[in-house]
């Protein structure tokens, strides 16, 4: 028995490396993408719109695949046109700790889906719901709010900021812990 223990232990350690993150390309939503309630007012308690909490908020944020899909879509849908690469332009910076409408995934999802009054367009019906969640997760990674083990690690072109997995947590930046 004894001589087998070490090889078995090593084998099980080595096999663990075969574990690969699942790429869920068709996450099933509890709500259909077209069926969220339309907001009837822009007044929101505490700057937060009570957006339906989907299990996606949690599952997308720690998932490397969804974060990198969000990054690709951020370029594809020209979010950079107004927000630059997160640094801000005509739209506010997304890599700082200031959030006008709240920093939660749900708030960011609501921002992208329904737009915001001072110039953020609504992408309702123009971006499928899952992709909005992917964008929201990526937006949070811009201010260091995603686990560095999952955030995108490499840029294909020159970027003004470090890759997302090396982004400092904007909320604690410059403050002593």
């Amino acid at each position: 028995m004894r001589p087998f223990v070490l090889p078995l232990l090593l084998a099980s350690l080595a096999l663990a490396a075969c574990q690969r993150e699942e790429r869920d390309t068709r996450p099933q939503s509890a709500f259909g993408s077209g069926e969220q309630p339309t907001p009837v007012t822009t007044l929101e308690p505490g700057g937060q719109r009570p957006s339906p909490t989907d299990n996606k908020a949690a599952s997308f944020e720690a998932n490397a695949f969804h974060l990198s899909e969000g990054k690709r879509l951020f370029g594809w849908f020209n979010c950079s046109g107004c927000h630059a690469n997160g640094g801000g332009g005509m739209g506010p910076a997304l890599m700082d700790e200031k959030w006008i409408y709240g920093s939660s995934m749900e708030s960011i999802h609501a921002t992208i889906r329904d737009g915001r009054p001072n110039g953020m367009p609504s992408f309702r019906d123009k971006i499928p719901d899952d992709q909005i969640w992917e964008l929201a997760a990526f937006v949070r990674s811009l201010s260091g709010n995603a686990p560095s083990s999952a955030a995108p690690s490499r840029n294909d072109d020159m970027m003004a900021h470090p890759s997302e997995n090396r982004m400092p947590d904007a909320a604690t930046l410059g403050k002593s812990p």
Partner: protein, 337 residues
């Protein structure tokens, strides 16, 4: 019994070699570059086979020869030594000549390949995307510049210059029946000249692993007589056909209102996305999603309803559509000839 075995063997070989024919084979060349390469492949293989047989024989013969008995095993045999030295020298000399010869052959073959497109009149920009090909026909007149996807029409018998690049990762363009392969590298432009001797459809395949759907990244070179090619180009320059019938009209509306418009372009409509295949004349193509499906109403519907089922991981997301909406969009796209 023995005859049966030999018949079976012959059939197996015939079937096996059959795999070398067809629309995607380096051993079934249909253009000057591929012919040059096929000749080179056969010559290298033949010569190396001969060398191999000779070397094996040189090894086997001494094994089978019985060694001569010497009365005095330690005595020097000057004659035998110089004989052995001569054999080794000749073998080394031959090896050097063969290697230099093959190097020269492949050098001159390369020169022939490079000369094919020196007078190319047509330039096509091929951009690799995960996992499809963007094809742009260059022209001095801006209104004649044409963008399409996955299928590359060329005039038969004329050299064509391809400018290869990529927007995401490294891909490789390979149409074995027409030419060797060349990489598409982000931020770099590679030049590949091709020529098809006769009209026909030649299949190509991305030949550099580029991600989940690398295997479903096919392309088609469609070589046509010059007149037919010119007519095709002129047709493709037209804006998309206006939808006929209520269903197709509803389909156009839906296409413009739903996410499709964010990624795809349809010439003549407000849809101007550039990150996905141009759909202005999508129904005139023979396949969908880079050779994954053949073009038909059913396959269009299958693709739009569930691209992630057909080509998991592809960059077209599932868009939530009701049955009626799907039918309308398919009716519209089907008319984009």
């Amino acid at each position: 019994m023995k005859r049966l075995a030999s018949i079976a063997f012959a059939t197996a070989i015939a079937l096996f070699l059959q795999g070398c024919a067809g629309w995607q084979s380096a051993l079934d060349p249909k253009g000057p570059a591929a012919s040059e390469l096929a000749w080179l492949i056969w010559f290298f293989t033949g010569l190396c086979a001969v060398v191999w047989v000779l070397v094996m024989a040189a090894l086997a013969v001494p094994l089978m020869m019985r060694s001569r008995q010497h009365a005095e095993p330690l005595a020097l045999d000057a004659g035998a030594d110089s004989r052995k030295l001569r054999v080794v020298m000749v073998a080394v000399g031959l090896t050097a000549v063969i290697l230099v010869g093959l190097t020269l052959l492949s050098f001159f073959a390369n020169r022939t390949l490079a000369a094919i497109g020196s007078d190319a009149a047509l330039t096509i920009r091929v951009t690799g995307h995960q996992w499809w090909w963007e094809v742009r026909y260059e022209d001095a007149t801006p209104s004649r510049i044409l963008t399409t996807a996955n299928e590359i029409h060329i005039p038969a018998g004329e050299p064509v210059r391809l400018l290869l690049t990529s927007t995401d990762v490294i891909h490789s363009f390979w149409v074995p029946s027409l030419s060797g392969k060349l990489d598409l590298i982000p931020g770099r432009m590679n030049v590949l000249d091709i020529k098809a001797d006769k009209p026909g459809v030649y299949r190509g395949q991305c030949a550099e692993f580029c991600g989940a759907q690398h295997a479903n990244m096919g392309t088609f070179i469609i070589a046509e007589p010059r007149a037919k090619f010119d007519a095709w180009w002129n047709d493709q320059l037209q804006p998309a056909a206006a939808p006929t019938g209520d269903e197709a009209k509803a389909g156009e509306n839906l296409f413009l209102k739903r996410p499709c418009v964010m990624c795809h372009k349809i010439g003549g409509t407000p849809a101007g996305g550039t990150v996905a295949p141009d759909l202005t004349h999508v129904a005139s193509r023979q396949t969908l999603a880079a050779g994954t499906l053949t073009m038909s109403r059913g396959n269009l519907a299958a693709w739009i309803a569930d691209p992630q089922g057909v080509k998991p991981g592809s960059h077209m997301p599932v868009v939530d559509l009701s049955g009626d909406e799907l039918n309308a969009i398919v009716a519209y796209l089907e008319g984009l000839k």
